[in-house]
């Protein structure tokens, strides 16, 4: 049975983390020129939307937000017990020459991000790709790191980090399940 072990972020914690990341994205890129946010399905999508809202509050203009589905790029398709559903990638603007910030809820092994990088590069040649995550839980299996992190959380491999967002889960918190 999966049990709730600890809550690592509440509603306010999530809000503050995203506000800080929005400031960091603007600071690092010296504004929002050529900036694009791309959320990785599923929970990266509402997070990217929220970051775009936050950035608009701070800087004015709204940056474009795209949606990336990485199912067809997964490296574990032949080993999964079930077959994942393929959903749409919606990036209706060119990515070549842009600064793309990939957004996901949790970074763990890094394999999702590897797949996302391949998927993104198949759409064009961004000038730079950065990564924003709400939670970094460690245990990387690939040489990948996040540029913007909401919270670093030491975990055991057996634990599960569950990000719950109101758009998808009807509540706002981040839990460790064991």
């Amino acid at each position: 049975m999966v049990k709730e072990k600890a809550q690592i972020l509440d509603k306010e914690g999530i809000r503050r983390s995203l506000t800080r990341i929005a400031h960091e994205i603007i600071e690092r890129n010296k504004g929002t020129d050529n900036l694009i946010l791309v959320g990785i399905r599923r929970r990266g999508v509402p997070l990217a939307e929220r970051l775009a809202e936050r950035i608009k509050d701070i800087e004015g203009g709204r940056v474009p937000v795209g949606i990336l589905d990485i199912t067809l790029y997964r490296d574990d398709l032949t080993t999964l017990a079930y077959q994942p559903l393929v959903r749409s990638t919606e990036i209706p603007f060119p990515v070549s020459g842009k600064t793309v910030v990939l957004v996901d809820d949790v970074i763990f092994t890094g394999r999702t991000i590897r797949a996302a990088l391949d998927a993104l590069i198949d759409l064009g040649r961004p000038r730079v790709i950065q990564l924003a995550v709400l939670v970094d839980r460690g245990h990387r299996e690939l040489p990948i790191r996040a540029d913007y992190v909401g919270k670093n959380v030491p975990t055991s491999r057996k634990e599960e980090v569950s990000v719950r967002l109101k758009e998808i889960d009807g509540e706002e918190r981040v839990l460790i399940l064991a």
Binding site: L72, T78, A81, Y82, L85, V86, S88
Partner: protein
């Protein structure tokens, strides 16, 4: 989730839920076809073999492109230049292909039941690309996809299927598909080309073309199969065209936003007039694009993992 069978022989034994899954998966596949770089790595290292015992341009090319866009390797067996000419049976040909490591065999064959036979013989997946007058499931799926994309739904629509129902595997797969998804199917054609008992599949047979077209949301025109018309089942092509050909006047009987569809290849001026075939309401070209997307979805769902 996923498809229950390793094969796709026909829509007769596929559930509405499975059809829904295939159409839902085809939508993101269509986005890939519209990219500059039309390739995703999903089926790298997999092999799709197409074995066609009958002529085809669209279906075969469509399957091969679908496989290539997903990074699978493809081999086409052209029966005319193969060992089939030395008398090798379908079963032995297929066993040999499977022994070389194919993951999917796409088969078109003049005999109804050929795909079913192969599916039972082989451990690898078999997709029926047309067996006699039995079924052509991927064509029906692309028809369903096209209608759902344009109309936003399938349930409750009035679908007219016009022409040579007797020889048409597309009609049979379409009837299964549309009725399972809750649409109503009306058939019209020369009485000699309407097989007895077809109502048992859930379609209604109309006494005239006009009756079938009245208020239709979708009009599926079938090809008059010139190669199968040597038995005198109707007097002449000209008469067929006069009584059953779709032209712009008859199109007005259908709903104002009715879709005009044709599985190809068209006999323009026989079953459909050129102005309708290339008119505003025609989605015939889009059917072809959607065919690749639907076949990508099928390949993914049949061999794209799920150990």
């Amino acid at each position: 989730m996923g498809l229950k069978s390793k094969d796709l022989v026909g829509l007769h034994h596929v559930t509405a839920q499975e059809i829904e899954l295939i159409l839902d998966t085809a939508a993101p596949m269509k986005e890939i076809i519209k990219r500059n770089i039309k390739k995703v790595p999903t089926l790298r290292g997999r092999t799709v073999v197409t074995v066609f015992y009958e002529a085809s341009t669209r279906t075969r090319t469509s399957f091969e492109l679908a496989a290539k866009y997903l990074s699978a390797d493809t081999v086409g067996i052209a029966v005319a230049t193969s060992s089939v000419n030395k008398g090798e049976s379908l079963k032995d040909t297929a066993l040999n292909i499977a022994a070389m490591g194919a993951d999917v065999v796409v088969l078109r064959h003049p005999m109804a039941g050929a795909a079913e036979l192969l599916a039972r013989t082989l451990d690898v997946s078999v997709i029926n690309a047309g067996d006699g007058a039995h079924e052509h499931p991927s064509q029906a799926l692309l028809d369903l996809f096209t209608v759902r994309e344009k109309k936003g739904r399938l349930a409750g629509l009035k679908v007219a299927i016009i022409g040579d129902i007797l020889h048409s595997r597309v009609a049979r797969s379409d009837i299964w598909g549309y009725t399972k998804m809750g649409a109503e199917v009306y058939l019209a054609g020369p009485a000699t080309l309407i097989p007895p008992g077809i109502e048992k599949m859930g379609a209604r047979v109309c006494g005239s073309l006009e009756e079938a077209l009245e208020g239709a949301d979708v009009i599926n025109i079938l090809r008059i199969q010139l190669e199968r018309q040597q038995q005198g089942l109707f007097p002449s092509l000209r008469e067929y065209s006069r009584i059953f050909g779709l032209n712009s006047d008859r199109l007005k009987l259908a709903a104002p936003d009715a879709l005009v569809m044709h599985p190809g290849p068209m006999n323009r001026g026989v079953e459909i007039s050129p102005d309708v075939a290339y008119g505003q309401q025609s989605v015939i070209n889009e059917q072809v694009t959607n065919g690749v997307a639907v076949r990508m979805a099928l390949l993914y769902l049949l061999i794209g993992g799920g150990a």
